[in-house]
Symmetry: C2
Subunit: 386 residues, 2 copies
């Protein structure tokens, strides 16, 4: 009955996420030049509208790049060659901080965290004690590869007390749950367009604290395209970008932020929370565990596949036969994990589809469970939170 | 009669350029993930379709960035800190090579070329003689700020003879006129999405010669997001991008390249040539000169505004009152130049609109000329070439 490549498709990957029709139409508007009052007005408004999502009064800087570009910008603008930093490696993206530091001739001191676990502030304290010349701590607010959250506020308390900078990858947290960049004391917060911001990939954002901005003015790291001092000057003072802007994505961002603020941030965060809770509730009902049961991310849920069942095959079956895209595990979790994203333009009810597709695929691959139990558990959780 | 901000608008800036409705609709398609057979097929096809525009059998690498990012990638992948290079500075973009080299701790030896003039191969020969340790020459194929072309083939003969690499910014030349990267001996050719490729900005492309690729594998320049070795490996071997792709722009690129090859490259180049000829023909008929009369670019024409007339005001009037966007001059040419772009989704007939708007604005600002003479000259040239 089911056919390969069904007409109607569903995107539940932890980025890219579905783009609302209103935003797609914005992307399809005739092109305008990036040095015009019309573009400047959209850029200014989009940057202003980003601030509450970052929890900052600082300027949010847009970059024509994907999230990794903004991570690199944070590293090269805040640290110089030969300088030391501590980074939390609790997954693929934590590991990336280490690679970025190494690529730029910085000394990265790793805090290794088991996949699915949260970084503990004591370990950051310890690492900073052991590396007193570390100038910064780098971490993820939410580690997309393990579907775990790290305690940014608590770690910020440690870095603040020690006068060390805190650089946070908020790619799957900004717009998903509340970020209090200024209040917590985050020095650089980075995000990308293709998650909670409901846009195609290709645009990244970064905000710097006053202290970070001062550092950026003095950083000796070679950089040009990702020179945040220059980019900030262009965006704040000249109301345009230093290099040619990703015009359509900026216009789309302004539209998606209008929608986000129209819904209201507290409601946006609550919606993400309920989506995550509903998805998580399905796992035990299917006899499955979570990769990050104690500190699950609000933007993406990692469900462990049954032993002996090929998780990669499961994910492919869901995509190719059922038209439902989720993501598998990476590296050590390859073939053992299903990651269901619930960021951006999705409602809690959509999670019923994700779970139903997961049930269908599990049954197809021979896993034994009570059919419908996952969907029922998810639906109950949604009803409770309504 | 004319109103501020007319409903129908025309984009004649030398990038961004108009995006065809077929491509806009492609940008408005529902989002897909970038690690899927569907995306891989589009990426492979787009990269394959780019080759004839570059005149290369090498792999074309896509980057989620604007053109400046690809220029930086060429610099950091082909040169190391402390190394020497010669660069042609005949305008804003030539100057950018110098800034990029300096930002990365390289020694840049400038060949200064008067705005509007072409770089002469003898001067490159001379500069390489004076700097025998220079490893590369960097230049523009077409300098957008002055609307002049530089003789890439002739300069490539010099660099080839000396075993020095040649890095070419083809941002306003790839897809505009024929590039013979392999035949000429260009080691890195760079372009961007928002010119002849008929797309919004946000995607850049670069191809490397065998020799350049070997250099990239050994380059000591710190880089991560713009690591072309890694990016090539991902795109060639894994049929996806190393970092999250600018998905919608890649799908749009594949569509625009389908249109370009549907028209046929010889016809595309001829169309650009006629647009340029028609626009240039208008200038003397209006009593105006060209900034680059001897070596005009096929993608953008620079018409000198009459002495005593504020060129910036002219450009603003055209945009705000007539709905026709062109660009003024930069730096030393500020207020003295009108740049009319004719790249991408435009026909020779569209140039009549650009010239008519220029005439209307010139008349409004008090310039004396025979009304209609510019449009008539442009139309005559189009008819001659039909």
């Amino acid at each position: 009955m089911l056919v390969k490549n069904p007409v109607k498709k569903y995107l539940f990957t932890p980025g890219p996420t579905p783009v609302p029709p209103e935003v797609l139409l914005e992307l399809a508007r005739p092109m305008i030049h990036h040095r015009t009052p019309e573009f400047s007005a959209a850029l200014d408004q989009a940057r202003e509208r980003m601030r509450p999502l970052f929890g900052t009064r600082q300027e949010v800087i847009l970059l024509a790049a994907s999230g990794t570009g903004a991570m690199e910008a944070a590293v090269t603008n805040l640290l110089g060659p030969g300088e030391h930093a501590v980074y939390v490696n609790g997954g693929k993206f934590g590991e990336r901080w280490g690679k970025l530091l190494a690529a730029h001739g910085m000394a990265g001191h790793e805090i290794r965290v088991d996949w699915g676990r949260a970084a503990r502030p004591e370990r950051v304290e310890e690492a900073l004690g052991a590396n007193p010349n570390a100038r910064a701590v780098l971490m993820q607010a939410s580690e997309t590869s393990t579907c775990a959250v790290h305690p940014v506020a608590e770690i910020a308390a440690v870095t603040q007390a020690r006068g060390v900078m805190l650089i946070v990858d908020g790619i799957t947290s900004v717009g998903v749950f509340e970020q209090k960049m200024d209040e917590w004391g985050v020095d650089a917060l980075v995000t990308g367009s293709q998650k909670a911001l409901m846009l195609p990939p290709g645009l990244a954002m970064v905000a710097l604290s006053e202290r970070a901005l001062e550092r950026a003015q003095r950083s000796r790291s070679p950089r040009y395209y990702f020179d945040l001092v220059r980019e900030l000057k262009a965006q704040r003072d000249e109301h345009t970008t230093a290099w040619t802007a990703a015009v359509s994505l900026v216009l789309g961002l302004n539209k998606s932020l209008e929608m986000i603020h129209g819904e209201g941030l507290p409601q946006v965060f609550a919606r993400h929370r309920v989506m995550a809770e509903a998805t998580r509730a399905a796992a035990p009902a299917l006899g499955l565990g979570l990769l990050a049961p104690d500190n699950p991310a609000p933007g993406v849920t990692g469900i462990l596949t049954p032993p002996g069942l090929d998780g990669s095959k499961l994910v492919r079956y869901m995509r190719d036969e059922l038209g439902v895209s989720v993501q598998g595990g990476q590296d050590q979790m390859k073939g053992k994990l299903v990651r269901i994203g619930h960021m951006g333009y999705l409602s809690p009810f959509d999670m019923l589809i994700a779970v139903a597709a997961l049930e269908t695929a599990l049954a197809h691959l021979g896993h034994r469970f009570e059919r419908g139990a996952g969907v029922a558990a998810a639906a109950r959780r949604i009803a409770e939170r309504a």
